[in-house]
């Protein structure tokens, strides 16, 4: 297990010309916002997601997960494989609360716990 070291960035946040480009369409998150989150200390897909909701919309990250990972990897100068696992959570597809409440699926309640490496 490796220890993640976070240090406050010494250099100021450097804007890029295409920071305004939408990356996560479902939650309308831009490249600049994701870069900013990484600048502010987010290191994994999960951390960016918890700040910005990237991958939490209708498509559940099907479109943007790869794009967000590529941005984090570029910002940190690490390969995507070294960014830690992206956790696959129930439900893997959006589902109406109404449908869930009608079902009583076991395991739904215990899913909240996060796995930390």
């Amino acid at each position: 297990m490796s220890v993640m070291i976070r240090r406050k960035n010494d250099s100021p946040f450097a804007p890029q010309p295409d920071d305004g480009m939408t990356v996560c369409r479902c939650e309308e998150v831009t490249k600049g916002e994701i870069r900013r989150a990484v600048y502010d200390g987010a290191r994994t897909f999960g951390e960016v997601k918890r700040r910005l909701r990237t991958g939490m919309g209708l498509c559940q990250g099907q479109t943007c997960q790869r794009l967000v990972l590529a941005i984090i990897s570029r910002e940190l100068g690490k390969s995507v494989g070294d960014l830690g696992k992206v956790t696959g959570r129930m439900p893997v597809r959006p589902v109406l609360m109404e449908e869930l409440s009608r079902s009583g699926v076991e395991g739904m309640e215990s899913e909240g716990a996060e796995h930390h490496e």
């Binding site: 439900p91 699926v105 395991g107």
Partner: protein, 532 residues
């Protein structure tokens, strides 16, 4: 809670094959798929597949899908459609949403075969309507009969981009340009050649930088890229298209495996996060198997074999097959899998640019890799392309890919692939070609032409595979096009030969001067009869 012996998630080629192998051994098997139709990607694949007979080569993907469904049906596999699996829990419990309700089922074993999702590219304007995935284009055309656009820019020259571009042409769309950021065309040369001779231009080391338009795509800007794939300022070019189709790869949809607690790994050669599996497809969780694109992007042929192995392994685990019975089946399947995974484009070869020669030692065509067509320099090199007079097949197949239907197709034994399925086809010039055209229809790459110089008066004929509607009629005038899509000379149709055995790849025979026999490879009707 309802219990099944085997629960399969995904009714694509991998899942259905797993279900068949399990059901065949006597297991009670259910398949859940969120789609309204079973078959996964297969029903969009209207082209003929590669491989050898055991891989159902030269059979169209749709037909392979139909055969698989029929078999699953006969074996009593229960397929539940419109059934989305939301999660997989401990004790091999799966949560399935059907008709507004979520229900749990338990399996003694589970096969996860959820396939892949398409990768997207971000560029200025990529969220405009008219920017679509290649898979979406296929769904529109081949499932719903809807043309995605009038003029399409294809981004990505892997086999998916090439196959979908050809299908767009067949649907009556124009595809002026295929761009790829890599310096080489990624997919099979034969797929690229079908496009090039129909007039599609390839731009390697190019990407799309902008979608132009207010409210929808009205044009695209492409640009050359440097060695690190960054667009080079000043190389921008605006092209007139109304659709931008993205075919830049697939990512395994492996979330359910992670959700089930399977050990995962990141493998860029496999396309992303995939479960760690043994050679039977077993994950780190006992009883949970994985197969197909979700375990690493490959092909339907390999997905089916992986699925079969997983299904049979479950039958063994649960006592329906003896280890020997399983071993026998598995050995056959593995051999078949090794075959389909061999050659220049095998899964492990992705991104390799250091291959300069074929296995036979012939230099790979630089023109084919960069521009999508063989040029004059290649003519003297590949023996199967050397014309020796009379009625002869000319085979423009110059890369080592696992495929051999041409050999089986020729009733006279004129074509020999030999021991290794990736070997280039050779011509046995001692055997007499009767011009039956079966090889032309059998070649999935549409790379076989029948040349005859004996028409008289300085004329000869070129027979070529022609998969476009409406089919021209004898006597129709037009132009003969070269491998590069440029006009070679005037031509007229002599006949269009079709038969059941050719399975919708008719041979169009055109009359051209003998001097053009070496160059004329496509026919463009004078009057472009419009597609209804």
């Amino acid at each position: 809670m309802k219990r099944y012996e085997v629960i399969v998630i995904g009714a694509g080629p991998a899942g259905l094959s797993a279900a068949c192998a399990a059901a065949e051994a006597g297991l009670e098997t259910v398949v859940f798929d969120e789609n309204a139709r079973p078959g996964g990607q297969l029903f969009k694949q209207i082209h003929k597949f590669f491989g050898s007979r055991e891989h159902q080569a030269r059979v169209r993907g749709v037909r392979i899908g139909e055969n698989l469904l029929k078999r699953a049906d006969e074996l009593g596999v229960k397929t539940v459609l419109g059934a989305t699996v939301l999660g997989v829990y401990e004790q091999k419990e799966v949560a399935v949403r059907t008709e507004g309700e979520v229900r749990s089922y338990r399996g003694d074993a589970i096969v996860i075969a959820t396939g892949a999702s398409e990768n997207m590219l971000t560029f200025d304007g990529w969220t405009l309507p008219g920017v679509i995935g290649a898979g979406a284009a296929q769904t529109l055309m081949n499932m719903h009969g809807v043309r995605p656009g009038a003029r399409v820019l294809m981004v990505g020259s892997g086999n998916v981009g090439l196959v979908v571009s050809f299908q767009l042409l067949q649907a009556g769309c124009e595809v002026p340009i295929v761009v790829d950021a890599a310096p080489r065309i990624g997919g099979y040369g034969v797929h690229a050649s079908k496009l090039a001779r129909a007039g599609v231009e390839f731009r390697t080391s190019h990407t799309v930088v902008k979608a132009i338009g207010a409210g929808r795509v009205e044009g695209a800007v492409i640009a050359e890229v440097d060695g690190s794939f960054a667009p080079i300022p000043g190389t921008e070019e605006t092209i007139d298209v109304d659709t931008i189709c993205i075919a830049v790869g697939l990512s395994p949809m492996s979330q359910l495996a992670d959700n089930a607690g399977c050990e995962m790994e990141y493998d860029s050669a496999k396309g992303g996060y995939v479960p760690t599996l043994n050679d039977e497809g077993l994950s780190s969780v006992p009883g949970i198997y994985c197969a197909g694109d979700m375990a690493g992007i490959e092909e339907a042929s390999s997905a089916m074999i992986q699925g079969s192995i997983a299904g049979a392994a479950i039958a063994r685990d649960l006592g329906y097959l003896t280890p020997d019975e399983f071993g026998e089946r598995a050995e056959r399947w593995r051999r078949s899998l090794d075959g389909i995974r061999s050659g220049m484009f095998a899964p492990g070869m992705k991104g390799r640019t250091d291959i300069t020669n074929t296995d036979e030692g012939y230099p790979l065509s630089a023109s084919l890799l960069a521009r999508g067509f063989l040029d004059g320099a290649d003519d003297g090199i590949f023996p199967s392309m050397i014309y020796s007079g009379g009625m002869r097949p000319i085979i423009e197949c110059t890369q080592n890919i696992p495929c051999d239907p041409c050999q089986d197709a020729c009733p006279r034994g004129c074509i020999v692939v030999g021991e290794d399925i990736t070997d280039l086809p050779r011509l046995d010039i001692g055997k007499k070609c009767t011009g039956c055209a079966l090889c032309v229809g059998a070649c999935s790459g549409q790379a076989i032409f029948l040349i005859d110089d004996s028409l008289g008066d300085g004329y000869g004929t070129v027979g070529l595979p022609y998969e476009f509607l409406p089919l021209p009629s004898p006597g129709d005038p037009g132009k003969a096009l070269g491998r590069d899509g440029e006009v070679v000379c005037d031509a007229s149709v002599v006949e269009v030969r079709d038969s059941k055995a050719m399975d919708k790849t008719p041979m169009l025979v055109m009359k051209v001067p003998v001097s053009a026999l070496g160059r004329a490879r496509f026919f463009r009707p004078a009057e472009n009869k419009n597609y209804a």
